[in-house]
Structure formats: C-alpha cells, structure tokens
C-alpha cells in the first residue's frame, strides 16, 4: 500500500512529525514501511508546463507538426511534435534542453527535418508515470504554464510503501493509516467535509436494488446520477492516482478509485444506459445474485470469463454486468459518451470474493480489499464523496438522485468482554485499567461500565480483526510499545525431558561420517525425470508434485542418491577424491485414504568417488574404502559392524554390483560400485561407490552404550598366516571357520589381499595376523605353533587352501 505524505496530511495533523518518524511509528505499530521515497521532483528538472499556442504542419514531413509553446512568461518556444492528440490551448509537459528523461534520453535543441526544435513534448510513458505512449500527456486545465513539471504532477511529495498484514484491511486506505498514526502519536484526525456533496432532497428514486444473496452481500449501496458529464479528471486527482500506481481513465472511474484509496471502500460505476428499464416507467433494476450455469461475462480487461454458480454477480434483469467485488464488465463500463451512471459501494463476503478471484485468476485492488474486509459504515460516505468528485469534475449538469442502501443484515458492532487482569497477565505488562481504556479509546473502541475488573468494549466498525480478548490485548500491547516492556523468562519448572532417540542418533551418525572425512551435503527433496533415468530408477512409486515450477521439482525423492550423484558430478572435475553424505527424508506413496500421509522415512546415503590411479591395491578398492567409512561412522554411532550382513547382489541401481545390507532379516540398504552405465550418465569418477540405508533400521542395531570387556591379563601370541584360495570363497566363510576353529584365537586381522597372474586364474592370496591367547596363562610357543598347524590343516581340508 502506497501512502503519499501530502494525502495523509489531509486526514491527520502531522505537525512536528518528520517522514522518518512517521515511518518508524508505522513500522513499530505493525504496518511495516518497506521504502520511503522522498520527493521525486528532481527527475523533472528542466521540465515545465507548456501551453500550446499554435500548431502548423511541418513543411517536409507529413506526420510532424510545428508547435509554438509558451513555457515561461513571454517566452515561446518552437517544438516539433509527431503526436496525434495535440490541440491549441492544451497544457502539456515540455522537456527543455538539458532535461534527462527516465529512459536516459537527454534533450537537446536539434533540427528535425530542417526545423529547429527547442525541446520535446512528452507522453506519459516518456514521463515515466505509465506505459501509455498513444499521445502527449495532456495536463489538467488548472495547472499554469511555466510551472515546473514536478510541481504540476505533485511529485514534491514523500511516498511511503507499506506492507499491510492480511488482518488489517482497514489500513488499506489513507484514512485508515491516518487513524493508525493518530492513535499511535495522539495527533488528531481532521474532519474532511470538502468534496462531499449530499444530493439528498433531489430524489428521483428511479432505481431498484434486489439482493438475492444476503449472505454474500451484506450491504449494497447504489447512487443513480443522471446528466453526468464524463470528462478528464483534474490534474491533482490524476496525480494522486499516479502516485498510487493507478492509471487515470475518466472523471467517473477516477473518482471511484480515488475514494477507494482515500476511504478503503472499493467502488464501481455502471453506465446506467446499459442497466435497461423494465418497461416504460419502471425503475432500473440492479440484481445481486449468483451466476447462472454457463453464464459468461467479458470483464473490463477484455477477457471473456466463464462464470460458476458459486460466484456472485451484479446483474440487470437479463444478464451479469460485473463480477461482484472483483471486476466490472466491459459492456456496462463508463465511457465519454455515458450520460447517466450508477455508482456502487457494497460489502461482499471476503471468502467468496477471494474464491471467485482465485478461480478466475483475476485479482484487483477491489478484490484485494474485499478479501480483507471493508468497513460497512463507509458505504454511504463513499457514494457521496465519489458523487461530489464527479460533479465537481464535470463542472456542469445537474445530477439527480439519492443513495439507495440495501442492508441484508443491519450492522451490529462487535463487542468483546475483557478482563483487565487477563490482559495484563497475557502481556506481562503493568498498565492500569484507566490506561488500558485510554488506549482503546484512541483506537476508536468504546468501553461500557467497568464492573468487577471487566468491561465490555465495542469494536469500531472498521476493525473486523478484533473479536476476542487476546485481540484487544494486542491492541493494548502494541500501543504501550513492546520495546518498553521488561524482558523476562518463563518462571515455571522445567517439564520432564524426553530425549529424542532418533534425532540424537542422526547427530552421532553425522559425526561418524565427518570423522571418516565425508562432507555433509543438503540436497533438494525433489527431482525430475532426468534424475530418475540417469540413476537407473523408475518413476513408479514416486509421489508427484502437483505444481512444480520446473522439471527438477516433478517428484518427491524416493532415494537420496540421484541428487548425491549430481553433487558428485558437480565436484568431481576438480578433485581426486569426493566423499559426500546426506541424511534426509524420502517419500513413498500413500495408501490412498483421504487422511493418509505418504510413507516417509529417514535415509542415510554416502558416495565415494576417486580418480583412477588414486587407489593402490586390490584390498583398497573403492567398495572397501566406502565400506570402511561406513563401518567407522556406524561404530561412532554405536552400531557394531557385526550387526550388519552384506549379501552379494549384482542388480543394484543401473546394474551396479555390490551388496544388500541386512540387519537381522530386514533389508536395510545397499552398498555398491557404480556400474559403467551409471558412471557414464552422471559423469562420475572412474571409481565410485555408493551407499544408502534406512536410518530407523540401523538405529535398531545400535548398542545403547559401550560395555566394558575386561582387558586380557595374559599376553597375545601373534602369528601371520597367508593362504591361497579360490576367489569364489567369500572372506566371511574363512573368517567364520577361523573363529570356530579354536577358542584361543583372540582376533583375526586381514592385512593383504592379492590377485595376480602368479597365483593363477580364480585364485587369490589372503594374509592374516592371528592373535592367540589364553585368559588364565601365557601360551607357550609350541602350543601356539600347534594351534596354527591345526588351523592350516583345517583350511587346506575344507577350502583347498594352499599355505604360502
């Protein structure tokens, strides 16, 4: 909402208040001032009001004319102009040499087709006040030639731009903001008597209004004016509208817009000639009803609208003339030819206007205000003010008529019972009953008798946001000023704590990955078809976003991996090693019920990518490295390696090889090496491994705390053992065999894996450190040797192992 200082000044006394102070008062009372634009007159330097004295045809150009324009006293300039709408006697904006237009164009005295032009006449677009470039912007007759253009256009003015919250429809007008300023500063409001014409007494009573939907239209006011002269608005009024960002149209439309901005009451004007008579002598009839099925209306913006039966329209006996509260129809629009008009000021149901506006995809200054609620008591004042402006602008004619107000529901002011102690307790502020009532009076509330610490307050008609005691407390609080309140902390006892196991586990898991030199990324929760395809996934099973703004927001993620692959791709060019992880929510489909939420689960995913050559041995392949990181991170979070089973699987994402992770019998996740296809489509580094698992599943395997195991008092006896076995025998089987071979084996550490031509195809060498020990006594060397012998024998017999 824009607010010109000069206009505000008409409604409230501003003595002693600087624009900066006014901005502060608004901001700190809840109507945030976003920008303060000081006078913009400077951009009109070297521009003046000129009066066209003569116009002659340019001798060497058909479309150009040579004008003589009086700019300053006695000084007449020759200006060449090509606009079609210039006439002798017009007051027009003139840019003299030295002026700089908003477009950046610098005006110079130059010959145009052989005639020297000492300046330029300007269109509204060239002035930067609208995008109208159809002709020269003709100024109202009341401006004087020689006046600076900044003054003539009312640009010596500070304009505030305010962010009005949706509950404060009453602040969407100059008067409403004036009230706010007045209540907050104590400066008095001014009574505006001027420009209101009361025509009561010249009643022709030739109009009939029928409201068929009293719920959707609680009040309808109409004013039938006959013999109106539709002209251009006076310059001051046009200037106001331009300041508010609205294009002046004609004296009738401009008056309705002016009243809307001044008083907050949206208005509409119909050409009464299009509201046909119901036969000779009958009154003109306005009907407020719902649209008929299949009814259409061409709105003022030229669009043909298909209406729905839920929508409220203003109609004559045969068809809709306007979408109530949203926009008028083009057929009944007021034009220069219009003689009789019907002015409308009404109160439409906020939610209904909003629904209609959304369904039509059509929003207006009018619908904006109706959605937020208008003051029902401003209807009559709005009609009279607008009529007064129209008559004054027209300058002649004797309009006749009187406002007709149809009240579906008589207005009853809202009341709220307040308990002064409740108000003080809610705010934590000291304020006497008297102080509280004083504040409410400043805001236009009226209070009844105070009885037993309570009072009933009557809410002003324009405050549809105040309905309960807490609302009243807010009014008291904001006028007391929150920044003058003391600052306390809650006094009550701290409630019993309930640790959030899942969130705590996620934290320790994240720390674990960081310990393993992984970097945490946050990626979007959406992705698109491209992500799905490149990752070798299917769109099936994904939840779809109804209103994505780009193709990358089409689905909710079912896996963290596609976006992680993308992140690896982004970074892989620049480094030898990329190690990323993310813990986040993924979304499965709903089962379909109305109140059914999708299956959400928390996933943990990591990717490790390394350039070829960065790895040194078979043992150190990228799969093992990622597995090591994963095991380290899980250990940090209290999940023992032994609780996770790896089952070989060659059909992971995009045909990748790797393992399915199981915890108990549950499938918990996957760990794999990116297949060639996956690596190509995502341009991944040569060696890339990925991991993803369900966090809840691994949380189940967590040891709640470390358990101390007594440290052996007897020394370890260490032996190394290297064997060559078939590559088809998984390590796990060998390890199990070793563990089961003797209870005196304390630990097994695999320290080398080798495959090579020397060993023959399908063979590999595995080397272990074996630690033996007895809990009671020190093992003798020969005992250990015989244990080792037993083990090697067992390995040879069961696995065909050769000892190296």
């Amino acid at each position: 909402m824009r607010l010109p200082l000069s206009w505000l000044k008409e409604h409230v006394s501003l003595s002693g208040l600087s624009p900066a102070r006014i901005a502060d008062v608004f901001t700190l009372s809840g109507s945030e001032v976003e920008t303060v634009r000081a006078s913009s007159a400077k951009q009109f330097d070297h521009m003046f009001v000129g009066e066209i004295r003569t116009i002659i045809q340019h001798p060497s150009a058909d479309k150009l004319k040579i004008t003589k324009v009086r700019v300053k006293k006695g000084r007449v300039r020759t200006i060449v102009c090509g606009a079609p709408n210039i006439k002798v006697g017009q007051k027009v904006p003139v840019a003299l040499p030295g002026a700089v237009l908003p477009s950046g164009q610098i005006i110079e005295a130059l010959p145009i087709r052989g005639v020297r032009s000492e300046g330029m006449l300007l269109s509204a677009k060239e002035l930067g006040i609208s995008d109208d470039h159809s002709g020269i912007y003709v100024l109202g007759n009341e401006v004087t030639a020689g006046e600076t253009l900044g003054t003539a256009l009312g640009m010596h003015d500070t304009v505030f731009e305010l962010d009005i919250t949706p509950n404060r429809g009453d602040c969407l007008s100059v008067r409403g903001l004036g009230r706010e300023l007045s209540a907050n500063t104590g400066k008095p409001m001014k009574r505006i008597a001027a420009r209101v014409t009361d025509l009561t007494g010249r009643n022709v009573n030739a109009l009939h209004v029928r409201v068929r939907e009293p719920r959707l239209c609680t009040r309808y006011g109409a004013y039938y004016l006959r013999g109106v002269r539709v002209t251009e608005s006076p310059q001051w009024l046009k200037n106001r509208l331009v300041q508010m960002g609205t294009r002046p149209i004609n004296s009738v439309v401009d008056a309705t817009n002016y009243v809307m901005y001044a008083l907050g009451q949206p208005m509409h004007a119909f050409d009464a000639g299009k509201v046909e008579d119901g036969g000779s002598g009958a009154r003109k009839t306005i009907i407020v009803r719902r649209a008929h099925k299949g009814e259409k209306l061409r709105t003022l913006d030229g669009e043909e609208r298909m209406l729905k039966t839920s929508m409220l329209v203003i109609a004559n006996r045969s068809r809709a003339l306007a979408v109530a509260g949203v926009m008028g129809g083009s057929e009944s629009a007021v034009t220069q030819k219009t003689k009789d008009i019907i002015l409308e000021a009404a109160v439409f149901h906020p939610a209904s206007v909003r629904r209609t506006s959304k369904q039509l995809g059509l929003a207006s200054e009018s619908s904006y205000r109706f959605e937020r609620g208008v003051d029902p008591l401003s209807v009559e004042e709005a009609l009279k003010t607008a009529a007064g402006l129209i008559i004054t602008s027209g300058g002649e004619g004797a309009p006749t008529g009187t406002p007709i107000i149809v009240d579906a529901h008589a207005f009853v002011p809202a009341t709220v019972r307040i308990n002064f102690e409740h108000v003080r307790n809610l705010l934590g502020a000291e304020a006497s009953d008297k102080k509280i009532l004083g504040i409410l009076r400043l805001l236009g509330f009226e209070a009844g008798q105070v009885h037993a610490g309570t009072a009933i307050v009557r809410v002003p008609s324009w405050r549809n946001d105040v309905r309960i005691e807490a609302d009243v407390a807010e009014e008291v609080g904001r006028l007391l000023g929150y920044n003058r309140f003391k600052r306390t902390v809650p006094q009550g006892a701290i409630p019993p704590r309930h640790p959030h196991k899942m969130l705590e586990f996620v934290d320790s898991l994240k720390d674990g990955f960081v310990d393993e030199r992984f970097i945490e990324v946050h990626t979007y929760s959406f992705y698109g078809d491209a992500h799905v395809q490149k990752s070798g996934m299917h769109t099936e099973g994904h939840l779809a976003v109804h209103n994505p703004m780009n193709p990358d927001q089409q689905y909710l993620r079912l896996s963290l991996l596609p976006r992680l692959f993308e992140a690896v791709q982004r970074n892989a060019q620049e480094r030898d090693r990329v190690a990323l992880f993310e813990i986040g929510t993924v979304f499965g489909e709903t089962r379909g019920g109305r109140r059914e939420l999708p299956q959400e689960s928390l996933k943990c995913a990591a990717i490790l990518g390394t350039k070829k050559g960065a790895l040194v041995s078979t043992r150190e392949n990228v799969f093992v490295l990622l597995r090591s990181g994963l095991i380290g991170a899980l250990a940090h979070a209290g999940v023992p390696e032994a609780s996770i089973k790896m089952e070989a699987d060659a059909h992971l994402l995009g045909g990748s090889r790797g393992a399915v992770l199981r915890i108990g019998k549950q499938r918990a996740g996957v760990l794999g090496i990116a297949s060639g296809g996956l690596a190509r489509s995502w341009k991944l580094p040569e060696d890339t491994a990925f991991f993803e698992c369900d966090v809840r599943a691994i949380l189940a395997a967590r040891m709640p705390r470390a358990r101390y195991v007594p440290i052996p008092r007897t020394p370890d006896a260490k032996r190394d053992l290297a064997i060559v076995v078939s590559t088809k025998i998984p390590y796990e089987e060998l390890q199990n065999a070793l563990v089961n071979a003797t209870s005196l084996l304390r630990s097994i550490t695999l320290f080398d894996v080798y495959e090579g031509a020397k060993l023959g195809k399908g063979k590999r060498s595995l080397a272990f450190h074996l630690m033996f020990g007895h809990s009671e006594r020190t093992l003798e060397n020969k005992e250990v040797d015989s244990l080792l012998l037993e083990i090697t024998r067992m390995l040879t017999q069961r696995f065909g192992a050769e000892i190296r």
């Binding site: 404060r168 704590r497 640790p499 030199r517 909710l556 709903t590």
Partner: protein
C-alpha cells in the same frame, strides 16, 4: 696425583672436545676419558683408592667434578654438532603442513546444533514430524482457514494423491492448470496433501501426546513454492519453539528471544519487537536484531534500517490451544519460529542462499 694434574686434564679435555669435528671423534674422545675400562678419569678414580685417606678426601670431589665437567662438555658438543649438520639444510620450519582432507558438517546442521543447545539449557525437548502434511494440520488447525488471505503468506507445493478417493476442494485447484501425472493420465487433485510450509504442524502433533507444561523445539525442513534467486529458496530449515504453562507472559517471549539472539550472535546484539500478524498467535510479533554487519548504523544488508528481521513469534492463539486440547482459560503459551538458512547467511556473510543446497564442496569445506 696433584691438583695441577687434574686441572691440566680438564683444560686438555675441554680443548679436544671443542675441536671434535664430528660425532665419531667425539665418541672416541669420550671413550678415552670416560671409558669404563681404560678411560683416563676412570683410572684416576681407581688410583684414588690407593692414596692416603686425608688426601683422598681432598682429591675425591675434585676428580668427580672433573668427570662431570667433561661429561657435560661432551653432551653440549654433541648437540651443537647435530644442530650444525641439521639446521641449515633440512629443517625449514616455515614449510606448510600436509593437509589431509577432513569431513565437514553442513553449516545449517552446525547452526541447528547451536540453536538446540541454547534451548536445551532452558529445558526444551526436541520434536519432529512429517514433511508432507495434511492441509488441515498445516493451515486449518493453525487458524489459517481456507479462502483467507493469510494463506497468501504461504506459497505452497501441493502433492498428488494418486489413488485418492474424493479430492477435497483445495487451494491447489484455484487458477492453476491441471498437471499431468508421469504416466500421462489426468490425475485427481486433492488439496489436502502438501509440503509443509512451516514446522508448526509438528507442535500440533507433539501436543497429541503431551500436556502442559511443555517446552518443545522442532527443527525441520520446510518448503515454499517460490522461484529461486540469491535470496529466495524453495527449501529451507526452520526451527520453531513452543512453551505452554500457567502464567506464560508476552514478556517471557521477549526475554527468551533476546537472550537467544545475544547468545548466537554476540552479547552486543540488540533486539526489537514489532507487532505482526500470524494467524496462530495473538498478539503476534516480528523480532528484529540490530544489524550484524553495520552494528545498527545502516548498511546495504539491512537496507539502511540498522535492523534485520529474524523471527516471527507471539502468544499462542486460544483457538490453536483448543485445537491442542489445552484449556486457554488455564494455560497460556508462546511460540516462535525462524529460518536457520537466513541466520547462517547472516552469521557467515553468505550472499546467495542457493549455495546451501548446491552441494558445492568449495562452499561446504569452508565450515
């Protein structure tokens, strides 16, 4: 054995020691003087046993001192020789260390932890909830009715319910084209599933299993249907807090948030409270923090105002308390919520919000 002899040996030994050119020479010198078998001093100590008692008493300490002096001289020379050989050639103390890439927590995670820690000291429990929510929980139960302009404050992503029964008349349908499902068919749209626009629904859910007094903190990912640019994101992390108890006052909210911003951004930070409208609180307010960059004097970040808007807050609306099955006549409460991404940006001086979800390691490695 004479005192003069001892002094002579000492002088000689010190001279030789100083002249030793390398550790080998020093080693043989040590052997010659101090060697266990044939060392000169060792033999002197042995001879000492044969001299008369009085003389021994006088000479004994002298010889022992001689032994110590020579030992010290040799040690000193040994260190000097090593430094001579090492220092100028192989120890450049200014060479940079070898950096091993380390892991990093995302800056938002780090910041959420700081926030959680502050509120944990005040006795707040953590709570979380689903990111896809019912329209009812995200809006209706929070006093944001359908067809109310307050919904304009929340640009919302809606979700298809592929096998939904009768779709509700939702905001999503208004004025927007029907979207197509991946399989090409027209889908029925139900407005009642959406990506939550704030974590306030978590408070409703948390209150299903709690009774006052409660102190809850709910961090989580939220979504806004907005075109992205340097200062707008579809996805960000929000933290909301809720306190309900007997006698909770607006001043408690002011004090709690004032301390919070002081803790996170430094004690010199000032806070300011402005009335604002959030349908689920009454009174509602916005919290400004004195600008972290210009210290309140006015700069481009705070748009010359000296203040940065940080947080929305207020006293829980009686209707919302009722929706939580809490009696507004007995209990009052406050709630607040802020975007962590914005705090992170201000704290570290990040000028583009999109970096936070970019996965750009050059960015993430800085934290």
């Amino acid at each position: 054995m004479k005192r003069e002899d001892i002094m002579r040996i000492l002088t000689e030994a010190l001279r030789e020691c100083a002249a030793a050119a390398n550790t080998d020479e020093l080693f043989s010198l040590e052997k010659r003087y101090l060697g266990r078998g044939k060392g000169a001093i060792t033999s002197m100590l042995r001879t000492l046993k044969t001299v008369p008692v009085e003389e021994r008493r006088a000479l004994g300490p002298l010889v022992q001192k001689l032994q110590r002096d020579i030992q010290h001289a040799i040690e000193g020379r040994r260190i000097a020789l090593r430094l001579d050989t090492d220092a100028p050639h192989t120890l450049d103390v200014t060479l940079p260390g070898i950096s091993h890439p380390r892991g990093h927590l995302h800056p938002v995670t780090q910041f959420v932890r700081r926030i959680e820690e502050f509120f944990s000291h005040l006795g707040f429990d953590l709570a979380d909830g689903p990111e896809v929510e019912l329209e009812r929980n995200n809006f209706d139960l929070l006093n944001i009715p359908k067809d109310h302009p307050a919904r304009d404050m929340h640009d919302t992503f809606y979700i298809f319910q592929p096998r939904g029964k009768s779709p509700a008349e939702g905001e999503a349908r208004h004025g927007r084209q029907k979207s197509r499902l991946p399989n090409g068919g027209q889908a029925k749209v139900s407005g009642n599933l959406l990506l939550r626009t704030h974590t306030s629904p978590v408070q409703l859910r948390a209150m299903e299993s709690r009774r006052p007094p409660v102190r809850i903190l709910s961090p989580g990912r939220v979504f806004r249907h907005e075109a992205t640019d340097a200062s707008h994101e579809t996805t960000f992390t929000q933290v909301e807090g809720l306190v309900i108890d007997k006698g909770i006052r607006l001043t408690d909210l002011l004090g709690t948030l004032d301390r919070f911003f002081g803790e996170i951004f430094g004690a010199k930070i000032k806070t300011r409270f402005r009335p604002h409208y959030y349908p689920f609180v009454e009174p509602g307010l916005d919290v400004d923090m004195s600008c972290f960059f210009c210290k309140g004097t006015g700069c481009s970040v705070c748009k010359k105002s000296g203040w940065l808007e940080m947080c929305g807050a207020g006293m829980v609306h009686p209707k919302v308390l009722k929706n939580m099955r809490v009696d507004p006549a007995r209990f009052t409460g406050f709630a607040f919520g802020f975007g962590v991404d914005r705090m992170v940006m201000i704290y570290y001086g990040i000028d583009d919000v999109r970096l936070l979800h970019s996965g750009n390691l050059k960015f993430l490695e800085q934290f």
